[in-house]
Amino acid sequence: MKNKIKVFRAMHDMTQEDLAQSIGVTRQTILAIEKGKYVPSLDLAFRIARHFNVNVEEVFTYESESRTVEID
């Protein structure tokens, strides 16, 4: 799952802390999502998209890296 949160943050001149506080998560969560370490829930993805007044598809792009499903 790729995302453009960093781009949208830059467009809105927001820090990770600002975005985190406005959508009710920690800064580490925003950082983890931006770096692709954590895939957010649908609820959080929609909250992020809504915060930037765009559709969720514009922020998040699904890209399957492999055909196998990782069971962690």
Partner: protein
């Protein structure tokens, strides 16, 4: 209550419990520390609900959930292994032949020694420590996996 105040509060509760543990050992009253421990945990639970700073979101909840699940998966195997051993010791499962060279009738054989209660306490403590180590280990693993210590240019 602020997050740091909450952590200080936990420290105070832990110190109070330590003192109570010492006191209960001195007066040989185990009920005191048992009740105090439960009350302490309940107090911490309610204090945590009053923390105004955000300390948990869906990512940290997921880390906790996964660490707890993995701990359970490993721990129940260890616990079952110990329990089977303990049951075998209590029941003294017979080996065949049971006692070589003896012609005593079965009703004349003394009942097996049951595992001493003190020993059970130490083993329980060991299992508890194992559970804590497993949980901390899995928590560190999943925290690293989900970017807990990632750094950024900001």
């Amino acid at each position: 209550m602020k997050k740091n105040t909450f952590y200080l509060f936990i420290g105070c509760i832990a110190l109070a419990l330590l003192a109570l543990f010492w006191y209960s050992v001195e007066i040989h009253n185990q009920l005191l520390i048992e009740v105090a421990f439960i009350i302490g945990i309940v107090i911490i639970y309610f204090a945590r609900r009053n923390v105004t700073d955000l300390i948990e979101d869906e990512r940290s909840a997921k880390i906790t959930e996964k660490a707890a699940m993995r701990t359970f998966q490993v721990f129940w195997v260890m616990f079952c292994a110990f329990s089977i051993g303990a049951v075998m010791q209590i029941l003294r499962v017979p080996s065949f032949p049971r006692e070589r060279g003896t012609d005593r009738p079965p009703w004349d054989i003394l009942p097996p020694e049951v595992m001493p209660l003190k020993m059970m306490g130490y083993i329980q403590l060991g299992l508890l420590c194992l559970m804590i180590f497993l949980y901390v280990g899995f928590r560190l693993y999943y925290a690293r996996k989900y970017g807990e210590w990632e750094t950024d240019e900001e």
